[in-house]
Symmetry: C2
Subunit: 297 residues, 2 copies
Amino acid sequence: MTAQIIDGNPIAEKLRKRLATDATAFTEKYGYKPGLGVVLVGDDPASQMYVRMKRNACEKAGITSYAHILPADSTQEQVEDAVRSLNEDPKVHGILVQLPLPKHLDEEKVLSLISFEKDADAAHPTNIGLLAMKGREPLYKPCTPAGAMIILQELGVQVAGANAVVLGRSNIVGMPVALLLMEANATVTICHSRTKDLQSYLKDADIVVAAIGRPNYLHGSWLKPGAVVIDVGTNKVDDPTSEKGYKYVGDVDLESALPVVSAITKVPGGVGPMTITMLMVQTVQAAHRLAEKTENA
Amino acid sequence: MTAQIIDGNPIAEKLRKRLATDATAFTEKYGYKPGLGVVLVGDDPASQMYVRMKRNACEKAGITSYAHILPADSTQEQVEDAVRSLNEDPKVHGILVQLPLPKHLDEEKVLSLISFEKDADAAHPTNIGLLAMKGREPLYKPCTPAGAMIILQELGVQVAGANAVVLGRSNIVGMPVALLLMEANATVTICHSRTKDLQSYLKDADIVVAAIGRPNYLHGSWLKPGAVVIDVGTNKVDDPTSEKGYKYVGDVDLESALPVVSAITKVPGGVGPMTITMLMVQTVQAAHRLAEKTENA
């Protein structure tokens, strides 16, 4: 069997074309561009890179980004003020607080300040609650899980009735992707660090979402033949053969998985491009929603 | 093997004694009793019975209940007004809207009106979101799932690392009990009407929570020997041998389960008494929280 290696870029590209059209429509109607507000605290190189990538992607899509870049020793008050000013700015429609925040800050308090209606990154508990509840719809969905679901859809994977195993229960990936899979009628098992005999769950799984941040942890021999694997892990490992001296690998050991699975996402370049794209898609949705609300007010 | 049949009443009784003490302490400190506001719309006999039971239980525990009993043809506005008046009443600390509401009403809108701080029944999406999120704590937990967890604790069941299967994904039982089990470090699988081959999940389950509302559906032969079963189903079935002509049975076929499992909750009288108790526990917690907040304001 030759597994399909899923490149997220062409899937993301299709969505970006559509969202650029939506952004242009907004700009023509209201005379200014949809706006994404970003709060970045500190000088973590990975976070800075993500923020830079988001800014570039926004520019291409016709979205203005408004960045508050604060020093690592900022006070709680200063970070909260940055969120508040984005909440109040009518040109800002979506807000992202880049995580993790430095440890001295109260992350929960900062995130809960984000205006529910500008929560394009779905960090607010009310959006998560609505996502968890049957018959309710959140305004926005967490971006990486939403991107993973679109990849499954593009692949034509039958999610309803499938046995889906999610590895990891983080607030930004594991838990919400489990809720989205359940909403799509999969039978979902959430495995985590306290799970005993992980392999007994994996061996029957039609869909596996791995989000535990352990390089090459999951061995192909643990997987069901023909499984579809979404690898959300992006782990930096030493690589003496590369110029940079490092490379990124997923949570799944690709080499042993390839002969077993039917499809697996690339790392990097699988789910990653979808995350930024979904943030922009939801920012443009937020822009239309908020502008219409102001018009009707 | 002789299975233990779990009676919820003595467990509930212990909690009720403690909560009555807490309620008395509140009354002595503030000069009035903790208050539970209840909204009941229509004349569904089961709902009326639940409301009556809640009122009696409150009285015994030293909690005043404030009931808004509205006719079945009440308008959305009238039901919303009842919730708003309970929100504003400083003597009301917990609010319960008895579900289901008549079909012409917008249930989601009614529930989302309940003041987050008086949401002792945890019907508000923000409480559900906080329950779903790692490292966050809801103000209140859904009462039946919280009661089920206390039963497991009383039995000394090792939840961490256990294989737990939840049958059903309702907003009031299935989904929140899955979140609570996950918080307690079980590996949780949520099965539902679209699950294929349910028995393949049940056969390895150490803990089973059944909440699908199908009388005697789950056969003992499907269960793992020694499993602990929480049967949340309360299904009315014909019973020509009883005076009333009916009886209540659970979702699990008790007769075939008893030789297999190590413990199973009674129906009725298992989880049921815990539900009302948890509502009262959380109402008294709400009373202390709100009164302290007012004092410090």
